[in-house]
Symmetry: C2
Subunit: 236 residues, 2 copies
């Protein structure tokens, strides 16, 4: 590494700039998801179309950030700690991009439900709203944990994913009951089921983000380890 | 970079070794998926349990390969071409690990269907078999393209994903008809639907692998670009 203070300042600036871009990308992804849910719940066709069109912006962020991260790796050859940050950012944008895809999927469902003029049970829309709010909260808090380098917060947020999974399973059970009671509702119910599944997956991606934060701060890879064990390790 | 031929030989050996590990991981993932499908189609409970238990092996590969890739980045500071290879391997294992997760999901479905002693329609099992064979074929050919650095093959394989998606949509339509005709079958049909969805996702991951191969060989990032456009670019 070049130890010239000007060079090292430029490096810090570059890292800071790309970190900042990741947070801007997360902001766009969060808004896409919020708009997709609103479009679905309020049957707002033009908002749904906006979300579908907005996916380009998310993809553009992903490509640009990945390119800048690789530039940093090539030109700056960062040492262990900074390398970990760059790797964390590269992994984070892959999850953010996939959350963006889920927003598009939900917006497309909103459009297809409108075309078929099939309506889904109000109770189930409430389930979607509850799950959506929960998943969005996880995403926002995960990004805060990344901004603050807060591994303890990240661990707490990651554990919340289990709650979302329970919510999902309960919603699925209600949906199946509802289809059995009135088989004419099967088609819209299957659409609704995919929306619930997409939200459950958003929780998984937010959990991934949290795991990267723990890796960044603590230097340990906690994927595939039960979170209770991770907490124990923190206390040791 | 150190230009001492011994150091550079060691670097090549390291890269080769990690590349080899990725192919071994892909072999394990492929076998997990094949076993999961067999367990589902032949209602083989012990094979399903074997797949669930085998996920640790897949996860172990992912963690080990990622660690070795990061070691290479830190110690060797590879230049552009080699850096691209290391990044390709890091991305590839994330997709392989997710395909492994889908195998576990399918094996779990096999177990849950057996417990509920609900049987799914024979026609639908054939759909699953067709989709499964197709997805496995994509995975194997994508890994061959990576081994051979063959971007043209990768492009062809990636385009095959659309065929799998069509297969999936047709299966979904048949499944919905089947549920409507006999609402008592809704619960097993929903399980079957998630199996079909998982296989459709395996195709997406195989397509991702192909896109990384194109990035590796051609140096262009083709994600988010329609594949017909990519082919045009190849010809220019």
């Amino acid at each position: 590494m070049n130890s010239d203070p000007h060079v090292s300042q430029r490096f810090d600036d570059e890292l800071h700039a790309v970190h900042e871009l990741v947070h801007r990308m997360a902001g766009v992804v969060e808004e896409q998801m919020r708009n997709a849910l609103t479009a679905l719940l309020q049957q707002d066709e033009s908002l749904a179309n906006e979300v579908v069109g907005g996916d380009n912006v998310v993809n553009g962020y992903e490509l640009r950030i990945e390119e800048e991260c690789i530039n940093i790796l090539v030109r700056r050859q960062p040492a262990a700690g900074d390398l970990r940050l760059v790797m964390t950012l590269i992994k984070s944008i892959a999850d953010l991009e996939r959350i963006g895809d889920k927003a598009v999927k939900i917006a497309s469902m909103a459009l297809s439900m409108q075309r078929s003029s099939a309506s889904i049970n109000g109770r189930f829309l409430r389930d979607i709203k509850t799950m959506g709010d929960y998943a969005l909260g996880m995403l926002r808090r995960a990004m805060d944990a990344l901004a603050n380098g807060d591994a303890d917060a990240a661990l707490e947020i990651a554990k919340g994913d289990e709650e979302l999974n329970q919510e999902y399973r309960a919603a699925l059970r209600r949906l199946i009951t509802y289809m059995m009671e009135d088989p004419r509702t099967i088609t819209p119910a299957i659409d609704a089921l995919f929306v619930a599944k997409a939200l459950e997956r958003v929780g998984d991606h937010a959990r991934n983000l949290c795991e990267y934060v723990i890796y960044l701060v603590k230097g340990v890879n906690v994927r595939h380890i039960p979170l209770e064990e991770v907490r124990q390790q923190f206390q040791d």
